[in-house]
């Protein structure tokens, strides 16, 4: 394929900048050495916003004699054009078809992207099933948050990275290079056997049901010293999160019982104020972004947030850079954390409408926290609030749903009391609770679509008379499918292939999602979806439990038991709860942070 062939395609599609690269801080590719392609099964604008991509792309390109390129799922118009011209899906940097790389690495962020993995493989003319790929086919690697239960897509990959990739991926690539250059020649089977000795690596072909080998999640022990690129790639077109990002810490001390990330990213590891300040200053100088996001699972819980902001503000103000503090919890928000200039909208996630249900899910937020935080916010000049809730939580009643309405009414009253005005806008967004692996709710059932609809309508009707409130809710059919794949096993892999054949793609995008085709795919493969949506037996090993993420089954069960008694568990910051992560490393170490 000549580069010119692709040029003609890029010239004729919408947003061609998605496909041509050339961004600032993008390394120069020579086409020599070990060639990797980092794939995100979503559009460029979404994929480029991912911090994992930015970290690992630069980490791999920093290796000697290794070049890592990128590829994103093409938009529908581009898919059609590439197919029409019979051109395989290429990388962005050098327009090399994916099949010509040594390794192709997929980052799988959430369940609705599974069909796009097959879309990209199909477009790259790479066989789906790992067993169908020969010795010289690229090694396919998957990683990302979905590796917590990789079973539905496991048969498509040679290697699955469980956990954090900063150290694991370079080790896999180094091993690959050794096997490629060894005197006795390349042998894929031997390479995979050696790869599965690397901590965090799961090789599905060698680790089958019936003879399971435990896979221990990989994590970076010294977070302060761990690799973090400051010469980050700067996108040429506006992306979803168009800013620099620095993680303040990994893990979460709160232990919300529905939250997979809160358990998966344990143990808690902090970055020091000095290191964060140094990284932010370099990022401002090297990227030119006008905003830096201080990210984590709960930014307000960073132990030295005030000191950090005091150090960063002079640097950012001088450069006209704003600091973004996403993921603030209601119990940690204070007016001084709010943005200095633009005060548009604040987002909080109470998750449930009543204190009882918040105790069930262990969302340690009280009505007083909500009132106090919003008073701060209104005093600081905000007049718009976004609230996230979930429907279908275990033990949820209609009374809990009405609690959402009560919170909205109280916010209006608070605003009026604080400002004397009525112009506050409250946006309520309700997701559907999906039981996720590695949470205390991993055994729970997911409510049926009819029940989802009933609860959504109940809240919608009750909110209608409350002025200034808008209500959004997730599509019930997408939530159902997400629930199926979240706890799915390898029996769902043929469903993915069938759904792809039927035309399923971009399932996270409402305009592309085809529930009817998914139902047909499940039916064609003889799959009863309730098997995955109904409550799971407590005494049976779940299909993802061969993966050890540190948090013990016993702890999850004890948390589940507390949930049914509506007993909250305090934050890890108020004493270790013995979840099991201590077996991996010393968790929640705060010495030397300042």
């Amino acid at each position: 394929m000549a580069k010119k062939d692709y040029q003609a395609i890029w010239s004729s599609v919408d947003h061609p900048a998605r496909y041509v690269g050339g961004e600032y801080n993008c390394p120069t590719m020579t086409g020599r050495g070990t060639r990797l392609c980092f794939c995100m099964p979503d559009l460029y604008e979404v994929g480029m916003s991912n911090l994992g991509l930015r970290l690992l792309y630069h980490r791999l390109n920093d290796m000697a004699d290794v070049e890592c390129e990128r590829c994103f799922a093409p938009a529908v118009d581009c898919i059609d054009k590439l197919k029409e011209a019979n051109l395989p899906l290429p990388s962005i940097e050098t327009n090399t078809p994916l099949g010509e790389f040594d390794m192709v690495l997929f980052s799988v962020q959430y369940e609705m992207l599974y069909s796009n993995i097959l879309l990209m493989l199909d477009m790259a003319h790479i066989p789906f099933w790992a067993k169908d790929r020969g010795e010289d086919a690229p090694i396919l690697v998957a990683g990302g948050p979905c590796a917590v239960n990789p079973e539905p897509f496991a048969p498509f990959f040679d290697i699955i990275d469980v956990g954090e990739g900063e150290e694991m991926l370079p080790e896999i690539v180094s091993l690959y290079r050794r096997f490629r250059s060894r005197p006795e020649g390349w042998n894929k089977q031997e390479f995979l056997l050696a790869a599965q000795q690397i901590e965090g690596v799961y090789v599905p072909a060698l680790n089958r049901e019936g003879a399971r080998r435990k896979v221990v999640k990989r994590f970076v022990e010294d977070f302060d010293a761990c690799y973090y690129p400051t010469k980050q790639i700067v996108s040429n077109l506006e992306i979803v999160h168009d800013r620099s990002m620095v993680e303040l810490y990994r893990g979460c001390a709160n232990g919300c019982r529905f939250c997979q990330a809160g358990f998966y990213y344990r143990p808690l590891r902090y970055r020091s104020v000095g290191k964060i300040t140094e990284l932010c200053a370099k990022l401002m100088d090297e990227t030119g972004y006008d905003e830096i996001s201080l990210g984590s699972l709960s930014t307000g819980d960073y132990p030295c947030l005030k000191e950090l902001i005091a150090k960063l503000r002079p640097l950012s103000d001088k450069r006209h850079v704003s600091l973004a503090l996403p993921s603030l919890r209601l119990d940690t928000f204070e007016g001084e954390f709010s943005q200095a200039a633009k005060k548009s909208s604040l987002t909080f996630a109470p998750e449930a409408g009543t204190q009882r249900l918040r105790d069930v899910i262990n969302k340690n937020v009280t009505d007083e926290d909500i009132d106090r935080s919003l008073t701060y916010a209104f005093r600081a000049g905000y007049n718009s609030v976004k609230l996230y809730f979930m429907l279908g939580l275990p033990t949820e009643t209609d009374e809990d749903l009405m609690g959402i309405v009560e919170i909205c009414k109280r916010i209006r009253e608070l605003y009026r009391a604080e400002t004397g005005r009525k112009d506050v806008t409250v946006s309520v967004s309700c997701a559907v609770f999906i039981p996720k692996p590695l949470t205390p709710f991993q055994w729970e059932g997911q409510i049926t679509m009819d029940e989802m609809k009933r609860r959504q309508l109940l809240v919608k009707d009750a909110l209608r008379p409350v002025k200034g409130v808008t209500f959004h809710y997730h599509d019930d059919d997408v939530s159902e499918l997400e629930g199926i794949f979240a706890r799915g096993d390898q029996a769902l892999a043929p469903v993915l292939v069938r759904a792809h054949e039927l035309g399923c793609r971009f399932d996270g995008w409402t305009e592309h999602f085809r529930y009817d085709l998914w139902c047909q795919a499940l039916s064609d493969c003889g799959i009863d979806k309730r098997k995955y949506l109904d409550p799971q037996p407590l005494d049976k090993e779940l299909c993802w439990e061969f993966i050890d993420c540190g948090v013990s089954r016993r702890y999850l069960l004890s948390e589940r038991d507390k949930a049914y008694r509506a007993v909250a568990t305090t934050s890890c910051n108020k004493g270790c709860k013995g979840c099991g992560c201590q077996s991996l490393t010393k968790c929640n170490r705060k010495e030397g942070l300042q």
Binding site: K4, Q7, A8, W10, S11, P16, A17, V20, G21, G22, E23, Y24, V234, N236, L237, E238, M284, D285, E286, T287, G288, Y289, D290, R319, H320, V321, A341, K342
Partner: protein
């Protein structure tokens, strides 16, 4: 005020005007130069781009002006150090006031790679009383436009056609002109349409924007 003349090539051809402006603001931030910001509720960098260029077209003559007081040599060298080579600058001017190129530019020259079997036919377009081409827009996807009064000159060389078209407030998109040539049987490489010069009108005469800036500004520096 600092005005930079820069190119737009390779991948940058596919970056839209608004994204291009955002990129240039980031490049200026990276230089560390003290470009002024507005004083409003949402402060923004005081940087203006010249006339827009259609997506897919390259350029060797783009201009942007920013509220910055510094040595033009320093500004140009720092900019080139901190921006993608596909946006490299070739000249820089320092002035007391904005040259307002976005408002003053009235025409531009474009170089189109093409194989033209009938040179006289193409060069004769400039003398036609009417030259109606397809001119689709969002409002009217099947629109047409008579661009005869908006063509200033056409010259055909071995591998290229150079055409002078109206630009600025009244404009002709060079890619649509190139498509019209294709309809006339000219073999055009649509991936090689490049803006090579911009003009302002001074005393009724088209003046190269570089010359206009040389006269308007107090200092200049060229690579």
């Amino acid at each position: 005020m600092i005005t930079l003349k820069y190119c737009k090539k390779d991948a940058m051809r596919y970056v839209s005007h608004i994204d291009g402006m955002r990129n240039q603001m980031r490049a200026m931030r990276r230089t560390g130069l003290d470009v002024k910001f507005s004083q409003g509720f949402n402060p923004h960098m005081l940087l203006n781009m010249g006339v827009t260029l259609p997506l897919g077209c390259g350029s060797t003559a783009e201009y942007m002006t920013m509220d910055l007081d510094c040595d033009p040599k320093v500004a140009l060298e720092l900019y080139n150090l901190k921006s993608a080579p596909t946006l490299a600058a070739s000249a820089c001017w320092l002035s007391d006031r904005s040259p307002n190129l976005a408002g003053n530019v009235v025409a531009a020259d474009y170089r189109i790679r093409a194989y033209c079997p009938d040179k006289a036919m193409v060069e004769g377009i400039v003398d036609l009383p009417s030259f109606v081409i397809d001119y689709p827009s969002k409002k009217d996807p099947h629109g047409v436009k008579d661009i005869a009064p908006l063509i200033n000159a056409i010259r055909v060389d071995d591998d290229y056609i150079t055409v002078g078209l109206a630009a600025g407030n009244t404009t002709v998109k060079p890619d649509l002109f190139a498509k019209a040539l294709v309809k006339m049987g000219v073999k055009v490489d649509m991936n090689d349409v490049v803006r090579i010069r911009q003009y302002v009108r001074q005393n009724g005469v088209l003046t190269d924007a570089d010359e206009y800036l040389d006269a308007f500004c107090k200092e200049s520096y060229r690579v």
